[in-house]
Symmetry: C2
Subunit: 591 residues, 2 copies
């Protein structure tokens, strides 16, 4: 039915690879069973197909424009977002008592995947809204929640995250936006925010900005950051819209991809007062922001996977139709050309894409599933276990797809050849869209430092032990399977290499040097986690002999033969504490 | 002086790494010495700086448009190309008796690199013209040469290559364009040609298309292809322009990058007769085309390197200026932020770019230098030696930079972070420009099949032996150097692995299976050649202790520590004749 997603594969992750069925039997999700979940996916797929997919190319070719101080977008964007809001999907993951659908995270992310794969630029507005609403609900006092949450969950008001400033991108310690108490419990905001996705748009009635700013008495650095709710239009006590809150759009950034999502420079308090409301405690802004960071980062990973998947499925269809060349042993030019899917290197490019995008899907749904396990945990200890696992895996979920599903997009272009390089086909757009994911929600390098500098060490390595325990049943079962035994051995050896690498890093007393190759560690760690998830996929289909299962087995074999060895090669380097890069000076680079 | 090229580094390749001085002492180049060559480079750099670089962004943002059957371009493109032509650079590599400058290839490519780095899309028009002129001179009879060559070398008439058709991209055996004798020695052309770079433009007085087509009695396949000269405007006997030759522009392809180079669908003989002239013998068109293929393919590699270099130098400048974050051991937020070049991962991203783009430059100038050695060879045996070496290295020169300098462009974006993702900075354009180079002049996969299926086997492996002989002095000298000995050992081992891999491939009687991973072989082979060239660079500066030389040594160390091991990992796989990809079916991929 769908042009852009394989529902059978999606349900494989939900119901075969991970036990969403058991999750649905929990009382928290007792309104749902597999049938109702599938109906929700059907409904999401229908809207994605009818409203999101058809305008994706047009939205890219006609990006939002800044005309006379306002933003203009193509009308199809309004239609798509209205349909999404009307279906209630902004509130998909929120509890029923907040007006939400109370769906498990793994199902919410399956829904999101349908929209992202269809039209990432359009979907971003809705995910940002859900993220802002989630932070509001988790951190704000009842009065703020009462006033703002409802219209956001209904999708009448959209939300944004305002963190970065021109001088403070990766370094939030350096933000300068000020919030001065107005004496009535509210604050006057002044300053500029850069890179604000959805910061202005003509679609929703109001925009609720979640803004990081500093109080006049704030301590320096990240300990002095507070979080404020700052509406575009002030809201009266009865919930109706009042006057403008004087947030000026200073300009739109024109990006290489994800062009349909406006990206804004916003000025607060420049022409008249901009009023904001403290969310949570003073100086706790960053901690509050981190409440939803895991969700947002898994969301970035999901976006990267879905850009990759869109390219994979498109290039797969193309390769089955496009005829070019002949097999090496049948070169007779009077005979018809063969579909290019018959050429070995085209198969290699398709299988590489499959291994990355389906490995990435397994990773994302696994993390979502852990979020659900954390939500329904019956003890603090159990919840803590899932929290630790997620702390370890979130940098991987965000970063691994950004690297490898971008590579998948590169190969999708290559399968289409010259056609793929033109804007008549969407594969070059997917590649442009995906290039952002290395950069936002923490750059690739920052996640490398996070995992090697913090996450593998926390609680004395407890998260690593938990992950090893998660992998153990797969390794044990695969060791009993003649076809998978070799992979199990390879994975076990790679895991031992991870542990040895961490030991080498921890044993160094030069922290800068020991972290100098953290990005390589991040990629390799991700490869080992995804290798495990491929082994788990292969085990899941071990007794089935349809084409779907053969494809899963082939992708697993591919990952272990072509990819895992690269991770081991890079780990050797990380463990050697090589300082070639670190010891370099600017003068030497400039030459 | 230049914003986009490092002249010191350029002259390092020409005069330190390769002995262009000795070349200039040859009588063929006796008009030149180092001083005059530097003056030519100065003049090229001036035009590139003044005319090519300033309009590169504008040309990308305002791509040529198809309006009322004609092409419109920004006026700056005309100015740039006129300045190039007036300086005589189209004829840089042509002999004096043909009106050329008679410069060695290595100097011509140094000149080209200045223009390509400044503005690849504009430069393409001129390189295509030189390529078409070169083919004309090599293959056509005197009358055709007399009539057409002069205006092309003067840059008044531009040239194109018309090979592909919509159903015949990689598979030229399947072209359908017809050439029917008109009885007067000329031919009537009919058919469509796709992907024609520069196929229409409003800059030059005429366009000379070099067109592959089939005679009515042609045998099927590549043995039935002939080459024709087909002017856009017919040329009278006195050299003046006559009537239109009825070549219709059916449309422009809109690409993701290199947007300033028109890319056309051309129809021949649709509305009135299109007259063409046979170049060379009937049915020898592909062989004639291959006369200039080595040049063209080295040109593609050069373009890829220069896109990479442009990104490297831009991101290096940015990293020295942009302040963000603090060192791990000095996090005090009241202190100023540090330039990002001080962060270990930024250094890694810059050094990776340096290793790829300077390794790529060495590769390209080395191949150019071999072309020169071939030109001045005093015996057929000596010329044959250089010919064989070039046959082996041309797929590498075309393909290795397309892969690794694209990766460099990806990292240049990452160094700039969010800024790099916007169109306000050129690094995203370089990335888009470079993505083409995997595809044209033979796809990456085709060069993989070429090197593993043909080149390493030809003349009983003689080309491999010649390359080993070229590497031998470097290995011997490096083995005597305490700092480089380890690299020499690693390179020697990698070379043995190349030979063992080829032996494994040759010993298989399943040719499809043995070539199934040819693309990986191509990349690995390239890594070993570039590794050698890095060792040669490090040796060249072994006794110098300035920052330039330290940078070269660091990049060499980086390449051997971070990159060469990956090639060896992939060669293991190629040698194993893994058939995971090959044995896959379309059904299994679709799932």
């Amino acid at each position: 039915m769908s042009m852009f997603v394989n529902r059978r594969d999606l349900e494989f992750y939900l119901f075969d690879l991970f036990d969403t069925q058991a999750l649905l039997e929990h009382e928290r999700y007792s309104d749902y069973d597999r049938e109702t979940v599938e109906a929700i996916l059907d409904s999401a797929e229908q809207i994605a197909n009818d409203k999101f997919y058809p305008c994706a190319d047009k939205l890219d070719a006609n990006e939002p424009l800044f005309v006379d101080g306002a933003v203009k977008v193509i009308p199809e964007l309004n239609d798509a977002l209205e349909a999404y809001a009307e279906a209630g999907f902004v509130a998909a993951g929120f509890p029923a008592d907040a007006g939400g659908m109370q769906l498990p995270s793994v199902v919410c992310n399956a829904v999101s995947s349908l929209f992202t794969c269809a039209n990432q630029a359009a979907s971003n507005y809705m995910f940002l809204t859900a993220g802002a609403a989630s932070m509001l609900r988790a951190c704000a006092d009842d009065a703020l929640v009462e006033k703002y949450l409802g219209p956001m969950l209904e999708g009448r008001w959209f939300g944004t995250m305002c963190l970065s400033e021109t001088q403070a991108g990766s370094s939030l310690a350096d933000i300068r936006t000020q919030a001065v108490p107005r004496g009535d419990g509210s604050y006057a905001l002044s300053g500029s925010k850069m890179w604000i996705s959805g910061g202005e748009q003509p679609v929703s009635e109001n925009i609720i900005h979640m803004v990081l700013a500093k109080l006049p008495d704030a301590p320096p650095g990240v300990r002095g950051i507070s979080l404020f709710l700052v509406p575009k239009v002030r809201v009266n006590d009865d919930g109706s819209l009042g006057e403008s809150n004087n947030i000026a759009l200073a300009g739109l950034n024109h990006k290489m991809g994800q062009r349909g999502t406006t990206n804004c420079l916003l000025n607060f308090g420049e022409n008249g007062e901009t009023v904001g409301y403290l969310v949570g405690q003073e100086h706790q802004g960053l901690a509050n922001m981190f409440h939803m960071m895991n969700d947002a980062r898994i969301g970035v990973g999901l976006g990267a996977v879905m850009s990759g998947l869109a390219g994979y499925l498109y290039s797969l269809d193309y390769a089955k139709e496009r005829r070019q060349g002949r097999k090496a042993d049948a070169k007779d030019p009077t005979k018809p050309q063969v579909p290019i899917i018959e050429h070995a290197d085209v198969k290699r490019m398709l299988l590489t894409q499959k291994a990355f995008v389906e490995g990435g899907q397994a990773l994302i749904y696994y993390c979502s599933y852990l979020l659900d396990q954390q939500s329904i945990a019956t003890s603090e200890a159990e919840a803590g276990k899932y929290h630790l696992l997620l702390e370890l895996l979130t940098p991987v979920a965000k970063s691994w797809p950004s690297e490898y599903c971008l590579e998948a997009n590169k190969l999708a272009i290559q399968v289409l050849g010259g056609y793929g390089y033109t804007r008549d086909y969407p594969v070059e757009r997917f590649y442009r869209d995906n290039r952002l994911n290395h950069i936002h929600e923490g750059t690739h390098a920052i996640h490398g430092l996070d995992i090697l500098g913090r996450k593998v060490r926390m609680a004395n390595g407890a998260a690593l032990q938990l992950l090893a325990a998660e992998m153990a049943p797969t390794l044990a079962a695969a060791s009993e399977d003649a076809h998978l035994q070799g992979h199990a051995d390879a994975l076990q050896a790679a895991w031992q290499q991870i542990l040895a690498t961490i030991e080498a890093v921890l044993s160094s007393d030069d922290s800068e040097r020991s972290l100098a190759n953290a990005t390589l560690f991040l990629n390799s760690f991700g490869h080992i986690v995804v290798g495990w998830l491929w082994l788990k996929q292969a085990l899941t289909v071990a007794d089935r002999d349809d084409a779907f299962s053969e494809g899963k087995r082939a992708a697993c074999r591919f990952f272990f033969a072509y990819e895992l060895p690269k991770a081991c090669t890079d780990l050797d380097l990380v463990a050697s504490l090589d300082d070639t890069c670190l010891s370099l000076t600017a003068e030497q680079l400039a030459g």
